[in-house]
């Protein structure tokens, strides 16, 4: 909503500049997006001129050379291109040095060899209208040299407001004036509709039928004006429309727009002689009914919309836009002025369906008060009389439901204090409410408040009234306190702390966290060689983002590929976030959203240096080491089981991650075909865990490792190549009994000549310890022997050598 300050001042006695006003409005609930200036910004050098003489330019057919009295000692010679310039006119002149509204500075100039000392201005050059076929001729003969701003509307500040949807009353100049008065304490002047030159009662000359019902059309009013003369609007009216962002057209159309801007009530003028059959019917549109709207488009209507029709069919889409057929033209002499109330939701739906938002529909869709229709008729009547020489017929057509009884709300003093934490005295509340149009009277423990019609949709409860007094009393006075707590303490849950710990460890290991899109492309499943169902969006913004991701791998591969393309060689990324798995038992019957943690590495595990030009490439074991670091940092015991049934993994380098005997995710190298599809041609290794399946570990019990130190022994065991090292370790662990605290593989050695074909030597470091004594050599030897025997009997393994 654009509010020219010059116009606002007509209704509110403001003694402050636009910026101060903007701030006061912002702090009382009317958001000011910005303050603009419309028209001339530096008033100097813009003056009234009298054209003393006009002659033809000797060297240019279209130019004339004028002598203009601009109040100086000598007349100014001005070259002018307008066809309508003539001696005797009073005109607007910009002298050299003037800054035009578009920012250019006017200089003395020679036009086709003749000096021009300024410029005679058109309406467009002053931003009063779009008119540029000729210069602007002032009707009154003001003295030459009079500052132009004193006699013509050439400059105003404009507040550009962002009106919240609950306040359609502020989509009007007078509504904003009400707020401005309350916000600043300035005097609010009488409403422009307080004086109505028209009359109520029966109106002859038009018949209106409401077939749509009171629900869709709660009120319909009309008046008739005869003897009307269509022509241009006066400068002041044009300038106000322009400052509000509307293009002047003709006095009749301009008046309907002006009335809407002033009162908030859209209205429409029909050429009465072009209403076929002399009767208007408000009715639902027919499915497929066509309407040529004023913007020159052919619209197809449907039965949910409401039209105003005459005997020939629809003439306008009610509350949205008029039709071309009954438009006012230069020949029009009699009009029907219509101001109606429409059903907000219905107008919203219609405007959405037609893809057509107008100044009218954007007001109606928020729900206007029925009483506004007569405000509009009153203001319009005065203007049609004054500006179009029209005669108003007696009477007003007024059909619709009887007005609802006024709404009364009791506002308790104590409730105000309890909700705000601040006292606003009752007298002050009353004063504030009355400024914005409410009636208030003392009633026991508070005020009895009557809500004005134009706030009826918004203010229905005590809390709503408290908001009104709070915002106007000034929230800057509100103290800053903390809640007086009865209960409740704040802490992270164990699961939240676990998640933070795992993320921190990944970052400490040199990986960067990414935040990927929750969306995935349809093709992503195929690129990952998968066929999982996913949650599909009904209205995605693009096919790239048309479904919800079912794993974090796609996000990581996308980020890895992008960074690789931008020159990164060492890739280490992770993401911690939800995935979306179709599940009718989910919170909304569509999906569950487990929180996953995934990491991806590729390229050298360390940055190369002059001492190590080719560090090892990240692979299965690099990411396995990473997983171990991450889980162990949180005290989570884990193990890998060969194979993962993930088609996107290298079939020989894939494993399932198990915690407490249950699968919690996968780990492996990405299948080269999948990685290649993301243009990643080196090995890419990754893991993904479903954190919702991992229980945060409880507190760890203390172990005394100092009083009775451990004894270490190394064993090199020759076993078949096919035996997984994990199985060997498992046999050792069982055979070693409780005294064996740890067994760790530290070497794998292959040598066909020294070991034999198909065999490998696995070196294991054993650590024996008892909690209550120092182990003797004999005890250790006994355990070691048990291990050797078990390995031999169960796995066919043998000690590689005695030493």
């Amino acid at each position: 909503m654009r509010v020219p300050l010059e116009w606002l001042r007509e209704y509110c006695d403001l003694h402050m500049d636009a910026h101060t006003l903007a701030q006061r409005l912002a702090l009382t609930g009317t958001e000011v997006e910005r303050v603009e200036h419309h028209g001339v910004s530096e008033l100097e050098h813009f003056v009234v001129g009298h054209v003393l003489e006009r002659r033809k330019h000797p060297d240019a057919d279209r130019l004339s050379v004028c002598m203009v009295d601009t109040g100086g000692s000598a007349a100014a010679q001005i070259v002018c291109g307008a066809p309508n310039v003539a001696a005797g006119q009073t005109v607007a002149v910009a002298r050299p040095g003037a800054v035009m509204p578009d920012g250019t500075r006017l200089r003395r100039a020679k036009l086709r060899g003749i000096e021009s000392q300024g410029m005679i201005l058109s309406e467009r050059e002053l931003q009063i209208s779009d008119e540029h076929t000729g210069i602007m001729v002032l009707e009154q003969a003001h003295a030459p040299g009079t500052p132009l701003a004193d006699v013509a509307p050439i400059a105003t500040d404009v507040l550009v407001l962002e009106v919240t949807p609950n306040r359609p009353d502020c989509l009007s100049i007078y509504g904003v004036a009400r707020e401005a008065a309350a916000a600043t304490g300035a005097q609010l002047r009488a409403a422009p509709w307080d004086y109505d030159p028209g009359s109520l009662g029966e109106l002859h000359g038009i018949e209106v039928l409401n077939e749509a019902g009171d629900e869709l059309c709660p009120r319909f009013t009309a008046r008739i004006f005869d003897g009307l003369r269509v022509g241009p609007s006066p400068l002041w009216l044009k300038a106000r429309l322009m400052a509000c962002g509307q293009r002047p057209i003709s006095n009749v159309v301009d008046i309907t727009n002006y009335v809407m801007l002033l009162t908030g009530q859209p209205m429409h003028a029909f050429d009465r002689e072009r209403i076929t059959g002399g009767r208007l019917t408000v009715r639902p549109a027919l499915d497929g009914e066509l309407l040529a709207t004023l913007d020159g488009q052919q619209r197809t209507l449907s039965a949910s919309m409401v039209v105003i029709a005459d005997a020939e069919g629809a003439t306008s889409a009610a509350g949205v836009m008029g039709g071309g057929r009954s438009e006012v033209s230069e020949q029009t002499t009699s009009i029907v002025s219509e101001a109606a109330t429409w059903n907000g939701p219905n107008i919203h739906a219609t405007s959405q369906a037609l893809g057509l938002r107008s100044e009218a529909s954007s007001r109606f869709e928020k729900g206007l008060a029925a009483e506004q229709t007569l405000w509009a008729q009153a203001v319009a009547t005065r203007l049609f009389q004054d500006l179009c020489e029209a005669r108003v017929r007696p009477g007003t057509l007024d059909i619709g439901a009887p007005p609802a009884p006024p709404l009364e709300i009791h506002l308790r003093d104590a409730r105000i204090e309890r909700l705000l934490g601040m006292v606003i005295p009752r007298a002050r509340c009353r004063e504030l409410l009355e400024t914005i149009g409410f009636d208030a009277s003392d009633g026991g423990d508070g005020l009895d408040v009557t809500v004005p019609d134009f706030r009826r949709a918004d203010v229905t409860r005590e809390a709503d009234l408290i908001e009104e007094v709070a915002r106007l009393a000034g929230l800057e006075r509100l103290p800053a306190t903390l809640p007086a707590r009865r209960a409740a303490v704040g802490r992270l849950t164990a699961a939240q702390r676990l998640r933070r710990r795992l993320e921190d460890t990944l970052a400490a290991q040199g990986l960067h966290e990414i935040v990927g899109w929750s969306f995935a492309a349809v093709e992503q499943a195929a690129r990952l060689l998968e066929q999982h169902p996913a949650v599909e969006l009904a209205n995605p913004m693009s096919s790239e983002q048309s479904r919800m991701r079912t794993s974090l791998l796609g996000s990581l591969l996308d980020a890895a590929a992008r960074n690789r393309a931008r020159g990164a060689t060492r890739i280490g990324l992770f993401e911690s976030g939800a995935v979306y798995l179709p599940d009718p038992d989910g919170p909304s019957g569509v999906a569950r959203e487990p929180h996953h943690l995934a990491a991806l590495v590729s390229g050298p595990v360390r940055p190369p240096s002059w001492r190590e030009q080719h560090p090892p490439q990240a692979d299965f074991f690099a990411v396995k080491g990473l997983l171990g670091a991450v889980l162990e940092s949180a005290g989570i015991a884990w193990q890998l089981v060969a194979g993962a049934e993930r088609p996107f993994l290298h079939p020989g380098r894939a494993a399932t991650v198990e915690v407490a005997g249950a699968s919690v995710g996968w780990l492996g190298e990405i299948h080269p075909r999948v990685a290649g599809d993301w243009d990643l041609d080196e090995a890419v290794a990754a893991f993904e865990l479903d954190l919702s399946t991992i229980d945060p570990p409880g507190p760890q019990a203390f172990t005394d490792l100092v009083s009775f130190p451990a004894v270490r022994e190394d064993l090199a065991i020759v076993v078949p190549e096919s035996l997984p090292a994990g199985e060997l370790v498992a046999v050792i662990a069982t055979a070693g009994g409780p005294l064996l605290q740890a067994s760790e593989i530290f070497d794998v050695f292959r040598d066909e000549q020294r070991l034999g074909a198909g065999l490998k030597s696995v070196a294991v470091r054993l650590s024996f310890r008892a909690g209550d004594r120092t182990l003797t050599d004999e005890e250790v030897a006994r355990q070691r022997n048990l291990i050797v025997v078990a390995v031999e009997n169960q796995l066919g393994g043998r000690l590689r050598d005695a030493g």
Binding site: R418, L478, G510
Partner: protein, 351 residues
């Protein structure tokens, strides 16, 4: 040659050899040669008993003296050589100290969104709030209806909101958790809800996915002043101890009264930067808009009245802020899309 002559000869030989020895290794060899188990001098000493009685004393003492002499000599000489050898080794171990050191794997970073989210979480945990998350795929009921949005609210439009079905959507704010939490837990309730939200919008200042933190405090006597105090603590924790907050009345369907909260600009004083020019961060206003909030609307409470939320008995405040917005303000990030580009050169800037 007499035995004592031989002893003197051995001693002279040993002295000459020790003087000629060039390394501690050579000294070790001399020690074996002259004093080892099979060497001549110790054998002479061992054989003293077989000598005639009158010679025993003289030979014995001469041999003993010679052995001690040689021992001391070798010890001294070994010490000298060891010093020289260490000096030589240190000379040979000289390095070019200007070559680069070994690169350690750089520490990675949490994403700026996570860093900011945790910072916000920690402030509110300190103020006694718990942290909860809710479903991102949400029902129209929780996202709009239960939050007092009227059926025509423009945010419901398919042009603005992602839908899965007519009744299920991607949540447009973290606010639906307000209602879910109140259904689950009776008052008093102090909760923040960080998480992803979605809107159909994409440009420099909008991405279809972004992050919010919702806050909710419901108790018997929570006031608007408490909201101001809580957010003042928050603003000071995040933007600096000097900050002030300002409440501007606004409109949200699920709060009444509703306010937008501004924090005083951390980059300037009253809109003017240090050089006197207009501050670019707050656009010269001196204030930064950081969140929307208000007192929980009685209609929202009435919907969960059965769980102890009778709007005549309990009341509370709610707020919602954009994590990216806080991060952008705090770190001067100019383009929202950078958060989702995941370029390492962006990610590693924030520690």
């Amino acid at each position: 040659m007499s035995v004592t002559d031989r002893i003197e000869q051995l001693e002279r030989e040993a002295q000459a050899a020790a003087a000629a020895a060039a390394s501690t290794v050579a000294i070790e060899e001399l020690r074996v040669r002259y004093l080892g188990r099979r060497a001549e001098l110790p054998n002479l000493l061992r054989d003293v008993a077989q000598l005639p009685t009158d010679q025993r004393g003289a030979v014995g003492s001469a041999a003993n003296r010679a052995r001690k002499e040689i021992e001391a000599l070798l010890e001294r000489r070994a010490g000298e050589l060891a010093v020289a050898e260490l000096e030589a080794r240190l000379r040979s171990e000289r390095v070019d100290v200007t070559l680069p050191g070994d690169p350690l794997p750089a520490i990675g970073r949490l994403h700026l969104i996570t860093q900011t989210r945790r910072e916000i979480e920690d402030v509110f945990i300190g103020l006694g709030f718990n942290v909860a998350e809710g479903p991102e795929i949400e029902s129209v009921h929780y996202n709009f209806d239960a939050l007092n949005h009227d059926p025509q609210h423009p945010a419901r439009a398919w042009t603005d909101t992602f839908y899965v079905t007519d009744e299920v959507l991607l949540r447009t704010h973290t606010s639906p958790m307000q209602v879910r939490a109140m259904e689950r837990t009776p008052p008093p309730l102090y909760l923040i809800v960080p998480g992803r939200v979605y809107r159909r919008d994409s440009d420099v200042t909008h991405t279809p996915q972004f992050h919010q933190v919702e806050g909710l405090a419901v108790d018997e006597d929570i006031t608007l002043a408490d909201l101001k105090g809580t957010l003042l603590e928050f603003a000071r924790a995040i933007f600096g101890a000097e900050r002030e907050v300002r409440l501007r009345p606004h409109f949200f369907p699920f709060t009444e009264p509703s306010v937008e909260v501004d924090v005083s600009c951390f980059a300037c004083s009253g809109g003017l930067a240090a050089g006197g020019e207009r501050c670019g961060i707050c656009k010269g206003t001196g204030w930064l808009e950081i969140l929307g909030s208000g007192m929980v609307d009685p209609n929202v409470l009435a919907g969960v009245a059965a769980n102890g939320y009778d709007p005549e008995r309990v009341q509370g405040f709610a707020f919602g802020m954009g994590i990216e917005r806080i991060a952008m303000l705090k770190h001067g990030v100019s383009d929202l899309r950078l958060f989702y580009d995941n370029d390492v050169r962006f990610l590693e800037q924030f520690a």
